[in-house]
Amino acid sequence: MSLPMPSPERQIWMFTQMLRIRTFEERVKRTFTEHPGVIRGHTHLADGAEASIVGSLSHFREGDAALATYRCHGYPLVLGSDPKAMMAEIYGRADGLCKGLGGSMHLTDVKRGFLGTSGIVGAGIPHAAGAAWAAQIRNKGNVVLSFFGDGASKQGAFHETLNIASLWKLPVVFIMENNGYNVVTTSAQEDANAAAGEPLSVKAKSYVMPGVTVDGTDPIAVHQAVGAAIERARSGQGPTLVESKVYRLSAHGNIIAPPGVPLHYPEHEAITVFGKREEYEAALRGDPVPRFRGILVQNDILPAAAAEDLSSRIANEMQEAVTFALNSPFPSLESALDYNYA
């Protein structure tokens, strides 16, 4: 890669953001047992994808936009959203980022460039292209980052949008976080490229755009791969498909469900469905958050004591988010009808 290494300060920033995502989501997960009933419906955690999220967003500039999926807690944290407002949203409270009307699957913070999250697989990909068309018309060198999972690459929305984005040379980067599982189905069971042993980034070839596969557990590798794609997009050369390979460390979704509710498992589906505990444990040994911390400590970029200090500061930050959200009132009943129409 031609991009330089990020500065030591920038690497510390990257680790800080990764740890903030991890700690925030641990508090989301703990809420199910510590405060049963406070989180309703379904949440989807990004544990295992933190390096990919932070590496991708490390190039974000004023005026850029990002759109993601229902697995959306990580991005706004990195872009500067207040974790208190995020947790309040996940708890359905009045002080939530979206006033309690969206919840975990639809976090949005327009002021910070986090434009919107569709909960329907693949549906947000054309939205990103639309925002990229807007950026192209405005012609200020801004880009749009479109985050989605491997499952979305079998949706028509993915293929239709990549075609148009390439044809129109839109300033968009398609970032596919490939965690190897579409809910409980392995990629090889549902993807012709995966079944043939090919990386999913080869799908880019059909649409005349670069397709690259990167280790999504390495924030520096993602920083460089997505950085090159963003440079290409900013300079008017059009989109890139980046396949970022990650392993999600929780089950697909988290709810408190009685036994027998389909598609909800207490542990990752590799264990609960396929009996492949070793696959999961190998992924856990490669957990990107402690691994990056180890690298920074080893390289004397972040002294161990400073790393400890950082962990406890972030733990406090997220404890405050939980306390704030628990104390935030429910939205007024009238507000249920407030936002259907402008």
């Binding site: 936009a65 759109l67 939530g96 980022l97 979206c98 006033k99 309690g100 009307l101 969206g102 639809h106 949005t108 913070d109 327009v110 002021k111 434009l115 919107g116 569709s118 329907i120 549906a123 990909i125 054309p126 939205h127 990103a128 292209a129 639309g130 925002a131 990229a132 068309w133 807007a134 950026a135 192209q136 018309i137 028509g156 929305a157 239709e160 949008t161 075609n163 148009i164 044809l167 129109w168 407030d338 936002y339 259907n340 129409y341 402008a342």
Partner: protein
């Protein structure tokens, strides 16, 4: 005022808004394929683009461009083509303002023709209006005259919500007087096309001229029908309809849709709930049969409402 066909009036509405607001975009299939295309020539290839046959991406791109501050108009040609991209129409465009607590607005227009009962058989003839009417967050407009075609398009483009603009294919070449100057028709304001005190007839789209012809025939018998065209079904001007029912006590609702997927059944329920005591006879619906539209001409004519059925319905409740 200029005389022009309905289809040209729609274009006039789009031109009016594209001239005044550089944020208005217009795109779709088989559109703007040469530099001589009127819209490309006037507004350039940045704002007017041809797309592949990719309804999901087209409408999805409109959603994203709208969230990013533009006002896209998607040329979809036929209402059925929205079915290909129903997620974007029903579960994306109208959801974002709500789910974000008002952080984003999604001002876009989905322009689609419907009801082409001229031998287009089963898949290009539907009257899908009520399908969109039940989606909170969407507005739904159904122009029946050339002037409304222009004015409702202009209002749709200025509206800050996603609007499904359903023009009726059987009215395509129907001429009408259209104001030359800036012209806007407000949403939620029904038009009384003909005044009368004996019976209220409510109709949209192509059923409006049919209802008016029926009313003329009834007038020869001394029966004075009031014909109301809601023009927009979301928002629906129930007030004008109920006021007319107060006067007449009798209602015939005409709708080209199958009975169980019609706007008329929704209006009938509102009238039943709010004017039960005023009604002198049951509300009668003249709708299409619950069937796929047949290709063969006499069968096609048989299953959709016509003037004779409207007249017969009025006779039935005036007995």
């Amino acid at each position: 005022m200029a005389q022009m066909p309905y289809i040209a009036a729609i274009d006039a509405g789009i031109h009016q808004e594209m001239r005044r607001d550089a944020n208005v975009l217009y795109f779709g299939q088989n559109l703007a394929t040469t530099e001589n295309h009127a819209f490309v020539a006037a507004y350039g290839p940045n704002r007017v683009r041809v797309t592949p046959i990719s309804e999901t991406a087209e409408i999805g791109i409109a959603v994203g461009a709208a969230m990013a501050g533009f006002r896209p108009v998607v040329e979809l040609y036929m209402a059925e083509f929205m079915l290909v991209a129903m997620d974007q129409v029903v579960n994306e465009a109208p959801r974002f303002r709500y789910m974000t607590g008002g952080q984003v607005e999604v001002p876009l227009v989905l322009k689609a023709g419907f009801g082409f009962t001229a031998g287009w058989a089963g898949q290009h003839t539907g009257s899908l209006t009520a399908l969109f009417m039940g989606v909170p967050g969407l507005k739904v407009v159904v122009p029946a005259t050339a002037a409304d075609a222009k004015g409702l398009m202009a209002t749709a483009i200025r509206d800050d919500n996603p609007v499904v603009y359903l023009h009726h294919y059987m009215l395509t070449l129907e001429p009408g007087e259209v104001p030359d100057d800036e012209y806007l028709v407000p949403f939620g304001k029904a038009e009384i096309r003909r005044a009368g005190g004996d019976v209220t007839i409510v109709a949209t789209g192509w059923m409006v001229p049919r209802a008016l012809t029926a009313a003329e025939q009834l007038a020869k018998e001394g029966i004075h029908a009031e014909v109301i065209d809601p023009r927009t079904v979301v928002p629906l001007d129930l007030e004008t309809i109920l006021r007319s029912v107060d006067k007449t006590g009798r209602v015939v609702l005409v709708d080209q849709a199958p009975r169980h997927a019609s706007v008329s059944s929704i209006i009938a329920a509102e009238i039943a709930e709010h004017r039960f005591g005023v009604l002198k006879a049951p509300v009668v619906q003249v709708t299409a049969a619950d069937t796929t539209i047949p290709y063969s001409e006499p069968l096609e004519a048989h299953v959709i409402p016509n003037e004779a059925r409207i007249v017969a319905a009025v006779h039935k409740i005036l007995k």
